[in-house]
């Protein structure tokens, strides 16, 4: 039987970049194939070609042995290719059922047959094994539920090939488990799944085979069984990473930031904790446990119902991000593109934005000063930019994160709040960001880090706080002795 999908010698160049230099990819029915590679390795371009968003410069695509011409997303959909992107393609104001049948509605005499659609949507949900009301508006669904709607849409389209791009990025541990169950079920129905993720653990749990891309070319393909983490990482980055986390040697000092009785609606309920100088405090828990919300309250991004924030024992009056920044607090948001950067502006302007007070005299920006500081910062953080005028949106995820970090370092923040600092960042850049966090801690800054990745929490933190439904449910005073199971037990408490 011919493979479900055969991509042969796919090449694609963009102005100035050869994104793909003859990549091969084979997917068999009932197989979960992990597609791995650092950011910029060519994974997204390959997937965009598969789903018709880009057209290859050369190369061929065969579906079930037959030559296929995929010229548009419409062609791809008809050929049975469904891609679920990190950002979902759902219309928030339409119901789950309407979204599933969007573009190919069930009609009766030219009118949409809502009853029929809901019935069929309910069947699909039942087949997947998830209870979602087909009539519920998508904006009222959780991220995990929206993902299920996307999967249901793929099934409704009779997709044979399902591409999942970082599907677990916004899911809690629980929801990831359920997603895996769904994928395994699809597998038994002969659907081929291409699974893209930075989370190696997931790949070892879920996938059958691994294809690794680097710099737009295949660098390796191997079955999961018999492959080690170290081998994979080496393939991806092309160099030896002795360990994923840099060594830490810090001695926390006096209490820097203290939070007392922080409260906002149902999201954050009576949260109190302290962070000391030179300490990395991890705030973890399932998605929706109130971790991001807690950081936003400290930073003044949202108004708090109650609670006190103290710096060095003195209460702070924080009513807006401006107040927080003035007090020396910096926030790296989890949504880098939506909240951390002005994507259409240059990296220099982004870097300068919170620092303009310092970079200007009498309201006039001193161009030389900001450019000099930016140059220093790009050197010390090893940010890869073509120049200060490069637009932020043209950087890779890791470099974007470094620009955000540079903003706050130049501001000389004493307290840094990191929300998912390595989300969507490739392995090499992750390591650099970890090193930086350690360096900052060593300089005596107080760091609060929110992370969903338990290995990251265990590898980076001095102390771990676990949140569940807006409440602190546990503290692990010495992160070195903690285990993932221990954290998970507190998180689901």
């Amino acid at each position: 039987m011919p493979p479900l999908l055969e991509m042969r010698a796919i090449a694609k160049a963009f102005p100035g970049v050869r994104a793909l230099r003859g990549v091969d990819l084979t997917l068999h029915a009932g197989e979960v194939l992990a597609l791995l590679g650092e950011n910029g390795a060519g994974k997204s371009t390959l997937i965009k070609i598969l789903c018709g968003a880009h057209r290859p410069d050369s190369g061929s695509i065969r579906l079930a042995g037959a030559e296929a011409a995929i010229r548009s997303p419409h062609d791809a959909r008809r050929a049975g290719v469904a891609v679920i992107h990190q950002e979902f393609n759902l219309v928030p104001a339409l119901s789950a059922a309407e979204n599933i049948f969007l573009g190919r509605e069930c009609t009766r005499a030219g009118f949409i047959a809502h009853g029929e659609q809901r019935r069929r949507a309910a069947e699909l949900f039942a087949r997947i094994g998830v209870a979602i009301d087909p009539g519920a508006l998508c904006r009222d669904l959780t991220v995990a539920q929206q993902q299920v709607v996307e999967i249901a849409r793929a099934l409704a389209d009779d997709a044979r090939i399902l591409v999942l791009d970082e599907p677990t990025a916004a899911l809690s541990h629980h929801e990831v488990e359920r997603l895996f169950t769904i994928i395994r079920d699809l597998q038994t129905h002969g659907i081929g799944v291409i699974y893209i993720s930075h989370r190696l653990d997931e790949i070892f749990t879920l996938c059958d085979r691994i294809a690794v891309l680097r710099d737009g070319a295949n660098v390796g393909e191997c079955p999961v069984a018999g492959t080690t983490r170290e081998q994979l990482i080496r393939l991806m980055v092309g160099r030896e990473l002795t360990e994923e986390f840099p060594p830490r040697a810090t001695r926390p000092g006096a209490t820097r930031l203290a939070v007392r009785g922080l409260r906002r609606g149902r999201a954050v309920r009576d949260v109190s904790f302290e962070v000391r100088r030179g300490e990395v405090l991890a705030l973890t828990g399932l998605v929706g446990a109130g971790r991001t919300e807690t950081l936003r309250l400290i930073f003044g991004a949202d108004a708090r119902d109650a609670g006190e924030i103290l710096l060095d024992g003195a209460p702070l009056r924080i009513r807006s991000p401006r107040d927080a920044i003035a007090a020396g607090i910096g926030l790296l948001t989890e949504d880098r593109k939506g909240q951390g950067l002005v994507l259409i502006h240059s990296v220099l302007e982004n870097f300068a934005l919170p620092n303009l007070d310092r970079f200007s005299r009498l309201g006039f920006v001193r161009g030389a000063t900001e450019r000099r500081e930016f140059a220093e910062m790009t050197r010390s953080l090893r940010i890869k930019v073509s120049g200060p005028a490069q637009r932020a949106r043209d950087l890779s995820g890791g470099n974007q994160q470094k620009v955000v970090l540079a903003k706050w370092l130049a501001k000389n923040c004493e307290v840094l709040l990191f929300d998912e600092p390595t989300r969507g960042v490739d392995v090499g850049a992750k390591f650099e960001i970890y090193t930086l966090i350690n360096q900052l801690a060593a300089e005596g800054k107080a760091i609060v880090m929110v992370s969903s990745e338990l290995p990251e929490v265990l590898g980076m933190a001095d102390r771990i706080l676990v949140l569940h439904e807006g409440r602190l449910t546990g503290e692990i005073a010495d992160a070195r002795t903690a285990t993932q199971e221990q954290i998970m037990q507190l998180a689901v408490a």
Partner: protein, 443 residues
């Protein structure tokens, strides 16, 4: 040098469109230009003295026409000053010229006949030597004609600048607002409000036609400040209550328009001193109209604001990503409020300029101007989604609109057709800009 050009060409690609338009209208208005007036007269006089000598005896012939009279006077003065003798100056028909030739023949030989473009072709001249041998062989002198585009005449170019000054001044404020991701539909009706209020204050408080300069300045300041308050009100609705700018300023547009009519009781207010037209009609510095100078000064200031100051960076950041700007400590609400207040103040100033140009204040001023202003901003390359745009781009956009209107007037295109063409050109300009930035596929 080359990167410098490349960068500025990319930034101001619309400059090319403007130059192409200028080139086209220059070509379309390429006609024979006949100089008139004192300058032309002095040229003719020089030519006569050069060829016929200092002691030349000259007859001047022009039509019965005020402009011709000016020409004749200047000619007579220049010739006399150079030592030549003007035997007679004829103002009238060929018949009168013939009589004058007869009289001159009685007095002696004639060396030159000085004409303007109209009288040089009279049939009496070729016959003069034969009819009156006593004259000798008088030569006919007339101003040299040249071929030159009417469009490129200095007066016409200044006229274009003067015509667009009001829209261009408003477009500065609109650029600020659009860069922050908003829109201000009220500026057109604020022109009327400001013009009416300023004229009203001059009539009722500053002594009508006898108003002093200070009185007029205070009255105009009143009109401008009122518009600034209107801008602050729109901005307040947008920032404090989160009302979409389109709706908030649409409301303000109606309010402003209605207020202008109420204040003026539906009439035009013209009881202002003659000197009120100083701002709109006079040209004090190097022949540049005052309104144009004011416009250029404002553009320079606005460019510096946007390119060099912290506030400018904040304006761009708020439009580029409001949440990211807020989380970076930008005082988003204050920045937005600033943009709307400036848009209001500049609309008020535009109203004062317009009242000064027309020497009255009327509630009918500025209708539809908000659309021309938005068109100028968008043609100038500012993105309606905010965060991007250049001040001088807007100036170029305003000039593109002005040049199209002026060029079509010169080439005799009727006004309805003009609107169609203007609309299509605006669409084409923006399309061109989009293609330049995003390519044909719109990626």
């Amino acid at each position: 040098m080359l990167p410098f050009f490349r960068r500025h060409f990319a930034d101001y690609g619309m400059l090319l469109v403007l130059l192409l338009l200028c080139g086209f209208f220059s070509y379309a208005t390429w006609t024979a230009q006949t100089p008139t007036g004192p300058e032309a007269a002095r040229g003719v006089a020089r030519e006569i003295v050069r060829t016929a000598g200092k002691n030349a005896r000259v007859l001047i012939a022009v039509r019965q026409h005020p402009e011709d009279a000016l020409f004749a006077t200047a000619l007579e003065q220049t010739l006399t000053a150079a030592g030549a003798t003007v035997v007679e100056t004829v103002q009238g028909e060929p018949r009168a010229a013939r009589a004058a030739l007869q009289r001159a023949a009685a007095a002696g030989p004639l060396h030159a006949i000085a004409c303007n473009a109209a009288t040089a072709s009279w049939l009496v001249w070729p016959d003069a030597a034969a009819d009156f041998p006593a004259l000798g062989q008088p030569r006919v002198f007339a101003p040299a004609t040249s071929r030159w585009p009417t469009f490129l005449n200095g007066d016409n170019l200044l006229n274009i600048a003067n015509q667009i000054a009001v829209i261009a001044i408003l477009a500065i404020g609109m650029t600020l607002v659009i860069i922050t991701g908003g829109i201000d539909l009220s500026v057109g009706s604020l022109i009327a409000l400001s013009a009416v209020l300023s004229a009203l204050l001059i009539r009722d408080c500053a002594g009508a036609a006898d108003a002093t300069a200070l009185g007029m300045i205070l009255a105009c300041a009143g009109g401008i400040v009122a518009c600034g308050l209107a801008g602050a009100f729109s901005g307040g609705l947008v920032t404090v209550f989160g009302i979409p700018p389109f709706i908030a300023t649409l409301g303000m547009m109606l309010v402003g328009n209605g207020l202008a009519y109420l204040l003026a009781r539906g009439q035009s207010i013209y009881q202002v001193p003659q000197s009120f037209t100083w701002l709109g009609r006079d040209a004090d510095l190097g022949g540049l109209p005052n309104a144009v100078l004011l416009m250029l000064g404002l553009y320079l200031a606005a460019h510096i604001l946007m390119a060099r100051t912290r506030l400018g960076r904040h304006l761009y950041a708020v439009g580029g990503n409001r949440e990211a700007a807020r989380l970076s400590g930008v005082p988003v609400k204050r920045v937005l409020l600033f943009a709307y207040i400036v848009a209001g103040l500049l609309a008020g100033l535009g109203g004062v300029v317009m009242a000064s140009q027309l020497k009255s204040g009327s509630p009918t001023y500025g209708q539809m101007y908000e659309l021309y202003v938005i068109a100028a901003v968008v043609v100038g390359g500012t993105s309606l989604s905010g965060g991007e745009g250049k001040m001088f781009g807007t100036l170029i956009g305003a000039f593109i609109i002005a040049v199209i209107q002026n060029g079509m007037n010169l080439t005799g295109v009727e006004s309805y057709t003009q609107k169609v063409v203007l609309g299509l050109v605006i669409i084409a300009a923006v399309l061109l800009d989009r293609l330049k930035r995003h390519g044909w596929r719109g990626e």
